[in-house]
Every structure is written in structure tokens, then in C-alpha cells.
């Protein structure tokens, strides 16, 4: 079976006045159709940039590709022309984002924005764009399937008139317009209230099941990943450090960073067990640490860690990039 998404040795940097920050350093990731994969890591570890490079949404400059390739469904994303890119975005890959307020255009009504996307997809799939009445009908149907009340009336409202949860549902509806194969959700619930979070997560889970979507969920919240994803990928400072079945990784982490992440989550069932923050700070990517990028913060680091960059190896049923994975 061909993988839906195949990222090989992907290396990306941003050029700024202080120099070049290497934000993604040799990412290898293969996603099969139907997988639900969670990408977890601290703010600034490059998980959002990774998601954006998949849909070719990173602006160049300041971005700069240092090497590697991304293939979606066997096609080279970086080599796509405008028409192929239009089919890829929305049709192949759809995205939902963190803050639903800022990702909706404030001066257009919900209906206008959805109709625009619907017609763009008609055009991308080589049909004549449907007329606006038909497009509005489809938009209202989609909003209805998001369990939004009064979908027809919703079309004439503006983003600032909706609540955060409603806006996120609108964005999810817009993402599903093109019946995408891969849904990338970039911190979809971070900006929402806790009660709304649960509703939105349930909605995403249902949609993934109903449309047989491949899901790539990006979050710093291990709980969210555990609830929605079967596979988890842990990122640290622009590299993947651990990749495997969520249950396996969470039950028995092999990378010291993954262990640190898990220990940093407060456990409500064991309140006497205090959450342990990971000591130190995320490294400055202008001059990343030599060898393993995690070694300055790692309690187990040995001399080899400062020298050799660890490669991903299969250890105990998952992949880990750590020289000491066997010993842990």
C-alpha cells in the first residue's frame, strides 16, 4: 500500500537577522491511509511548521528548504504547480487551526467565506463552479452536520458574532468541503473552554470515523492525543525523538524527553504525586546543541550524546532516537 504521506529527511530553516534557525532537522514520517497520528511536543518544537510544510503553506522566504522531500499520495508536494496545489489543498489535505477567531476573515460573512471555498473546490476538480444558491445550500447542509443550530441563518452572520466553539465548527465544516483525505488539526481545542473542547474533540472523532479520514493531530496536550490518536510522534527541537503506538509509548516511554513530558502532566488520580517539569529550556535553534539536541537537558546524557546525532531505531515495539534507548 502506498503511504498517504511520506516525509523524507525534511529539513527547513528560517532566515532572520540573527542568522538561520534550523527549525526542522531531518524529519522522517510515513503516514498510511486511515491512520490517526498525534504529534506532540513543546511550543516551538516545529510541529506546526511541519504541518504547514505538508500543505506547502510556509512562506519562502523567510523559510528555506535545506533538503528532503514530501510526497502526498505519491506526488511530490514541492514540485506541484498551481492547479495541483489547489487540488491538494482542501481536496487532498484540509486543515483546522488553533484560534478559530483569527482564522476566519472578519469582514466576510460565514456564508460568503464558505461559498468561496465551495466554488474554489468546484474549480479545482475541473467542474464549473456551482451558482451561489447551490453553494449556499451545500454550506448550510455542512453547518447542519456540524450540529450548529439554524445553519441557514448562520450563513449571514459574521465571525465576531459567533462563540469560539461555533467558530471552530464553522472552520471544521470549511475543512470538510473538499472531502479531504488527510485532516491536519493544529491545536484545534487549545483556545477553547474546557467544556467546548470535549464537544469539538468528539465531533472530530466522529467525522474521522464517518469519512474514514486520516488524521494528523498536533497538540501539546497528551490527553487530547491519547483520546483521538492510535499513533503518537514526539518532537523535540525540530527532530522526531519517539514514534509508535500511543498505548505503547505512553505506557513505557523510551526517550528521556517523552518520559519528561509524561512526568510533567499532573495526575489527578495521584495528587500527592507532583508534576515534574523538565529542567532547562528549549534550545536556541540558531545554534542548536551538537549531537542529540536534547542532551543539555537530559539527566542521562553521556559523552556520546554531545557528539553523535542519534538516529531512529526500533526498540521495544516503537522507534526511538536515543543512544541509551536499550538501557532505559
Amino acid at each position: 500500500m502506498t503511504p498517504l504521506l511520506d516525509i523524507r529527511d525534511w529539513r527547513l530553516a528560517f532566515d532572520g537577522f540573527e542568522g538561520r534557525a534550523q527549525v526542522l532537522d531531518g524529519i522522517n514520517l510515513t503516514v498510511m491511509p486511515g491512520e490517526t497520528i498525534g504529534i506532540v511536543g513543546e511550543t516551538g518544537c516545529g510541529k506546526s511548521v511541519l504541518a504547514r510544510s505538508v500543505a506547502r503553506l510556509v512562506d519562502m522566504p523567510p523559510g528555506r528548504i535545506l533538503g528532503g522531500s514530501i510526497h502526498f499520495d505519491g506526488q511530490d508536494v514541492m514540485a506541484m504547480n498551481g492547479a495541483a496545489l489547489a487540488r491538494l489543498r482542501g481536496h487532498g489535505i484540509a486543515m483546522i487551526f488553533q484560534d478559530p477567531m483569527t482564522y476566519l476573515n472578519p469582514v466576510f460573512s460565514i456564508g460568503a467565506q464558505m461559498v468561496d471555498v465551495i466554488r474554489a473546490h468546484d474549480r479545482a476538480s475541473g467542474q464549473r463552479p456551482r451558482n451561489s444558491a447551490a453553494a449556499r445550500k451545500k454550506a448550510a447542509d455542512l453547518l447542519g452536520s456540524m450540529r450548529l443550530p439554524e445553519p441557514a441563518g448562520m450563513l449571514d452572520r459574521y465571525p465576531h458574532e459567533l462563540s469560539g466553539g461555533m467558530r471552530q465548527r464553522v472552520l471544521i465544516a470549511m475543512a470538510l468541503i473538499g472531502t479531504p483525505r488527510l485532516l491536519i488539526a493544529d491545536e484545534p481545542t487549545t483556545a477553547l473552554d474546557v467544556t467546548i473542547q470535549a464537544q469539538v474533540l468528539r465531533l472530530i472523532a466522529e467525522l474521522v470515523a464517518m469519512h474514514a479520514l486520516t488524521l494528523m493531530l498536533i497538540s501539546h496536550d497528551l490527553g487530547v492525543i491519547g483520546a483521538l490518536c492510535r499513533r503518537v510522534v514526539v518532537m523535540y527541537a525540530g527532530t522526531i525523538v519517539e514514534d509508535g503506538e500511543a498505548t505503547t509509548v505512553f505506557a513505557n516511554p523510551r526517550h528521556p524527553y517523552t518520559r519528561g513530558l509524561l512526568a510533567a502532566v499532573p495526575d489527578l488520580e495521584k495528587p500527592q504525586h507532583r508534576a515534574q517539569p523538565i529542567p532547562g529550556q528549549i534550545p536556541n535553534l540558531l545554534s542548536p546543541p551538537s549531537g542529540c539536541r536534547f542532551h543539555p537537558r537530559c539527566a542521562l546524557a553521556v559523552e556520546q550524546c554531545t557528539r553523535d546525532k542519534p538516529v531512529m531505531r526500533d526498540v521495544a515495539g516503537r522507534s526511538v532516537a536515543c543512544h541509551l534507548a536499550e538501557h532505559a
Binding site: R89, F97, N105, V107, F108
Partner: protein, 336 residues
């Protein structure tokens, strides 16, 4: 919404009153005796005294002020010494010519400034962007009166493509009066020859007048476009597969147009101010030339009239811009 409109209109009235206060104050700082000026150089003392009484100049200042305000409100701006007509009549005669020029310049400024600003933003920090930005600063720095003379020299004297000055050839009769703007009036009357003549005459002054406006609109539009293009909803629109051109020209431009619109409102007033220079160079019989020739003759009532008219214009245009804001930006519609 309607309460907002009412408050905005009331504020405009208050500002107009403020402006009247300014013109009154300025009129009364004259070191020379306005009565003596009005009476002329050969007048006797008695004549000056008579004029002083006639104009109420012997009354205490507060009383003069009240008379002045009531006069202005009723459209009485005094009498021009040079033309001997009431200033209001003169303004009505000269204003259409100025309006014609300003409308034409504004069309040029917006028509060129907005697309160039968009282009500059999209091509940020490339050679075309640097060139456009440099050109924009240059256009602000160009002295309108000097560049007008150079254009006359080039297009009128050397190439002989365009006329040097005035609104029409001497032999051509103005089109029948509808708006007073020859470009419109000649079209209404179907006099296409007159229209093309009027356009040829207006081309150079309108171009010179549009430069600072073009530059400001370009710069605002560029800055706004750069900001909007990095907004999350633009990323989202691209992620949804909307074509790049449509993202720029529809999704981004509509947001960037709001501050650009405010700049258009500001520039309208400034442009009316610059007519004193451009109309002098091109001998364009509008309120700018009227103000200058009156000022040179030491006849300040027409200048005050022009000041009030331009101020009124500015306030009305900005009132319209404010209300348009509400139409273009749904977030403001529900605001108190």
C-alpha cells in the same frame, strides 16, 4: 447605528463652529486696519470711519463675533475687494473647477495607488518593491509647483501634446452649465470635442495634484496588505485551496481597504489645499487660484472663505468615510 450617525453629524457641526472661531481669530490679528484696506489708498478719514461703522468694526469683539457667525451660517462670507462680488458667489463660481480637478486626481491616486501598493506588498523586499517605495517617497518630495512647470515644459512646450494652462481653448465656449465641471457637462451635452479638450487641459494639473495622494495611498495599502497577508485567516484561505490571486485581491484587499479608505478621506482635504499651488501653475480658475490672487492683493475675506469651504469639504468627506467604514467592516455595525 443611527445614534452613531447623529453623534457624528453633531460633532461635525461642532468642528465647523471651531473652524469659524479660527477664521474669525485670524481675521482679527491683522496689523493693518481692515477698514482702511477696504476703503482703498485714497480714502479720507471720514470714509474709513464710515466703512468701519458700516462693517461693524467699531463694535466690541464679542458682538462682532456673533455677527460673523450668524453671517457665515447664512452663507455671508463678506465681499471680495478685488472682484467686488460677495465671496460666496465667487466660491460657487470657482469651486466646480477645483472639484473637477480633485475628483480626477483622486481617481488617479486610488486607481494607481491601490494596485501598486498591493503589488509592492506581494513582492515585499524585492527590486520592484524597493523601486515602488522609492518612487512613493519621491512623489511626496516633489514640489508640485516646480514639477508642474517641468511637465508644462516637457509636454506642452517641447512635445506640444498638451495645452499649458486654463480649462479650455480660448475660442471654445464652455458647455451648458449643469455641474460646472466641464468634463461632466460636456458629456451631458454630448459635446465630445469639448470633452476631449477639457480632458487634455486637466491632464497635467490632475497628474501633479495626484502625486502625494497616490504616494500615501500606495504606502498605506502596502503596509496594510503586508500585515493582512500574514494574518491567520489568509493562511486558512490558502489552506482551503483558494487561488492565490483571489486570496490577495478579495480576501486580503477587503481588509486592507479600511485604513486605505481613511487615508483617502484625509487626502481629499490635503488635495484641496494643494490646489493653491497647482492652480497657480496651470492658471486653473478654481478656488485655489482665487485664494492666492486674493491673498496677494491683501484681500483676506476670500481666503477665509476658501479656508471654510475646504474645511467643510474635509469634514463632510470624513463623515462619509466614517459611515462607509460601518458598511465595510461588520464589526463596527453593532458597535454603539
Amino acid at each position: 447605528m443611527w445614534r452613531y450617525v447623529a453623534r457624528r453629524v453633531a460633532l461635525t457641526g461642532l468642528m465647523l463652529f471651531g473652524l469659524i472661531c479660527i477664521t474669525f481669530t485670524v481675521s482679527n490679528i491683522a496689523p493693518s486696519d481692515p477698514a482702511a484696506l477696504a476703503a482703498g489708498p485714497d480714502a479720507t478719514r471720514d470714509m474709513v470711519a464710515t466703512i468701519r461703522r458700516e462693517y461693524g468694526l467699531d463694535r466690541p469683539l464679542p458682538e462682532q463675533f456673533i455677527r460673523y457667525v450668524t453671517g457665515v451660517v447664512q452663507g455671508d462670507l463678506g465681499r471680495s475687494i478685488v472682484s467686488t462680488r460677495p465671496v460666496t458667489q465667487d466660491l460657487a463660481r470657482f469651486f466646480p473647477a477645483t472639484l473637477e480637478l480633485v475628483v480626477l486626481s483622486m481617481l488617479l491616486g486610488v486607481g494607481l495607488g491601490v494596485p501598486l501598493g498591493m503589488m509592492s506588498a506581494v513582492l515585499k523586499n524585492t527590486a520592484p518593491d524597493h523601486l515602488t517605495r522609492f518612487a512613493a517617497v519621491s512623489l511626496v518630495a516633489l514640489p508640485a509647483f516646480w514639477f508642474g512647470i517641468l511637465l508644462q515644459l516637457f509636454f506642452s512646450v517641447w512635445l506640444e501634446w498638451l495645452p499649458t494652462s486654463g480649462r479650455l481653448e480660448v475660442a471654445t465656449a464652455p458647455p451648458p452649465f449643469v455641474t460646472g465641471m466641464y468634463l461632466f457637462d460636456s458629456l451631458f451635452a454630448g459635446q465630445f470635442n469639448t470633452f476631449s479638450q477639457a480632458l487634455a487641459h486637466a491632464a497635467l494639473p490632475a497628474l501633479v495634484l495626484s502625486f502625494p495622494c497616490l504616494a500615501s495611498i500606495l504606502r498605506v495599502n502596502r503596509a496594510e496588505m503586508i500585515e493582512v497577508l500574514s494574518a491567520d485567516y489568509i493562511t486558512a484561505a490558502r489552506a482551503h485551496g483558494i487561488a492565490r490571486l483571489r486570496v490577495i485581491c478579495v480576501h486580503a484587499l477587503r481588509n486592507a481597504m479600511l485604513p486605505t479608505l481613511a487615508m483617502i478621506g484625509l487626502r481629499w482635504g490635503w488635495m484641496l489645499g494643494s490646489t493653491v499651488l497647482v492652480e497657480t501653475v496651470f492658471d486653473w480658475p478654481g478656488i485655489g487660484l482665487y485664494a492666492v490672487s486674493s491673498a496677494i492683493a491683501g484681500d483676506f475675506k476670500p481666503v477665509m472663505g476658501v479656508t471654510l469651504l475646504i474645511g467643510l469639504n474635509f469634514m463632510v468627506i470624513n463623515l462619509i468615510v466614517d459611515l462607509l467604514y460601518g458598511v465595510l467592516d461588520p464589526r463596527l455595525r453593532n458597535a454603539p
